[in-house]
């Protein structure tokens, strides 16, 4: 991981310039951006990969459409039947998948970086379980429809996050990353127990249906899910990217970050809001798709070979993971929800990366 280190402060730039992959600071007035060729290349490759997988997803189904025809239909150059199938029937699912992956990867990167622990991802600190509890209560106890399930799942995630954050808050000390994670893990355990309780006490058919939802699925998603998700992300993604600069400094530790001029508590609060918003939006759209938020940031770190928060690469990795998982789940002979595929895919890939980096003595 230390093969190509970042260049703090820009001072040792000359020294680093001799290496193959270096970073430069591009300045335009008050704005400065670190330009890192490897990161940019990885991002471009991930985006292309995700888009390609999404095109194939749109082409898959009872009526297969070739990738060139899909692209033609997307830009309005196809015949009317194909355009209807692509734009109305299948595109929402592909878009929802990409956006859910984007949101989960990004929120995972935020929480892992903030807690300085790969286990600090929203799957493990209760937000996902909270979303699941909200949906389960709606499905099994109140018997609401699809919209009600979506709403109560988002509400469950937000309420859990609020509770975890409030309990972790302490006057004077504010919220410390490790404490937030520990309390989140406790909340996750309680909510998981609640979910198990609900599942074991319910009628078999209802519980079975709920279990499908709990695995994370993209089946039957239309624009009603995709559009609100897109609107939420249009606000949250830029906010996350702006905040990410302070996030990198926060990883140095609270005191060091404060010394560098980061207002730690305010930044953390804003980041939690953004991260929870992302999880809530994603869970509402597709159910608690497991493992993307945990794996995507770790994969992105290893792909870009950078330490610290890699928000954009993590988000794109999440999108690629989900699009790819959806494509595979569409081509399996049995109906398997996308969450199963992302779990297997992300897990195997992460394990392979770990083993491969071990051989090179990295990681």
């Amino acid at each position: 991981m230390s093969a190509s280190t970042k260049t703090p402060g820009g001072a040792p730039l000359e020294k680093a310039a001799g290496r193959a992959m270096t970073s430069r600071v591009v300045r335009a007035g008050a704005v400065s951006v670190r330009w890192e060729p490897r990161v940019a290349a990885v991002c471009a490759a991930l985006a292309l990969f995700a888009a390609g997988a999404a095109v194939l997803v749109v082409g898959s189904g009872d009526f297969p459409i070739s990738p060139p025809d899909v692209v033609a239909a997307l830009v309005g150059q196809g015949d009317r039947a194909t355009e209807f199938i692509v734009q109305t029937l299948r595109l929402p699912r592909a878009v929802t998948g990409l956006l859910v992956g984007l949101a989960l990867g990004l929120s995972g990167a935020i929480f892992q970086s903030m807690s300085r622990n790969p286990l600090g991802s929203p799957d493990l600190i209760g937000f996902t379980q909270g979303g699941a509890s909200g949906a389960l209560l709606q499905i099994l106890v109140f018997g609401g429809g699809a919209v009600a399930i979506t709403a109560s799942s988002a509400a469950g995630a937000v309420l859990t996050a609020l509770a975890v954050y409030l309990v972790a808050y302490r006057r004077g000390g504010g919220v410390v990353g490790v404490r937030l994670v520990l309390i989140g893990v406790a909340a996750a355990a309680m909510l998981q127990a609640l979910n198990s309780y609900l599942i074991t006490r319910a009628e078999l058919t209802e519980a079975y249906e709920a279990a499908f939802w709990l695995t994370g699925s993209l089946n039957g998603r239309d624009w009603d899910q995709a559009v609100p998700l897109a609107i939420a992300l249009a606000v949250l993604v830029p906010a996350a990217l702006v905040l990410s600069r302070s996030l990198g400094m926060g990883e140095l530790g609270d005191d060091a970050a404060q010394a560098l001029g980061v207002r730690v508590q305010r930044t953390r609060l804003l980041l939690v809001i953004v991260g929870v918003g992302l999880v809530a939006a994603a869970t509402a759209a597709a159910g608690p798709v497991p493992f993307v938020a945990l794996a995507a940031p770790q994969l992105a770190r290893r792909l870009t070979r950078r330490a610290g928060a890699q928000l954009l690469p993590a988000a794109l990795t999440g999108a690629a993971l989900l699009a790819c998982g959806d494509l595979i789940s569409l081509h399996l002979p049995v109906a398997i929800p996308v969450g199963v595929v992302t779990g297997v895919l992300g897990g195997v890939y992460l394990a392979w990366l770990l083993a491969a980096s071990g051989r090179r003595g990295m990681g």
Binding site: N117, P118, L119, L124, V167, A168, R170, G173, V178, R179, V181, L182, I183, V185, A186, A187, A189, M190, Q192, A193, L194, S196, Y197, I199, T200, L204, T205, A207, Y208, A211, F212, T215, P290, F291, L294, A295, Q298, V334, I336, P337, G339, V340, V341, T342, G343, V344, G346, G347, V348, L350, A351, L354, A355, S357, G358, R359, R360, G361, M362, G363
Partner: protein
Amino acid sequence: MLSSVRKPPTAEPPPKAAVPRRAGRWGGLLLLVAALLLTIVASFAIGAESVPFGRVLPSVLSPDGTQHSLIVHELRLPRTVLGILVGISLGLAGAVMQALTRNPLAEPGLLGVNGGAALAVVVVIGFFDVDEVLVYVWAAFAGAGGAAVLVYAIGARGRGGASPARLVLAGAAVNAVFSALTAGLMLLTPQNFNGFRFWQVGYLAGRDLGIFWRVLPFVVAGVVLALVLARPLNALGLGDDAGRALGARPGRTRALGALTIVLLCGAATAAAGPITFLGLAVPFIVRALVGPDLRWVVPFSLLLAPVLLLWADIAGRVVAPGELETGIVTAFVGAPLFIVMVRRGRTREL
């Protein structure tokens, strides 16, 4: 910390200042032994049909066919001894796991152990159509062991060997694959789902005493290993290089530590299903009480965990009509307790 790893406690007289603290710790251990005994009696006595405390001992020692005697022998004895065994296993496994990975969040769910056990059980339910509890037990054991070996093999590749961070990530990766496969198999048919949804909540009630005898040897082996490993793990807590300088062998210690975890977690999950949170919370509470020295953390965890698990089981019998599964109670009682401790700032980073 340094002084605690240099020599075993009996080899030289401890420094003067340490005497009262050590006396306090021995006192604490005695207190825990007393608490455990009291808990065991309570576990025999309390339930839907309560047995007077005075009648517990006579009923256990001389079964006389009365209703109390039957309740104690048929219902309360199996779940109590099983609770002790499972509690010890989970508490110790958590302590060893957290020391090995140097991560205070490590717990049996993490290193892929529960995931492996669950996958094996769902395979048995789905493909072999057996409904025998003992088959589940062995399947869970094999799954837990296989998963832990896999995690260790992935984490241990490369120059540095199984570094803590790599183990945790490898565990998360394997766990994700297994739980995804479990979900996929479970959702194939409603029958699979129905069999699995009850297994996935850990509980002690209604388990046969035969399970106890079958997992006992594994637990005993795991406990012995954990006690022996306390000192080498202490040395590794200082980092690999410092540990090596103190005579520790990181590779061997980690491999034995992983074996301990497999034995203990495998036995616990096989015997009672996945019981969450105990393995995380017990070492955490113990560290807050006695500090990070594993020579104390291990025995304290060994005694505290069964006390907590049995009380969770007792609570599950009385709070709800019908009964609440032990695994649900441990989460609902343990988590708030844990939160209170975290909020009081008694977290110790490893």
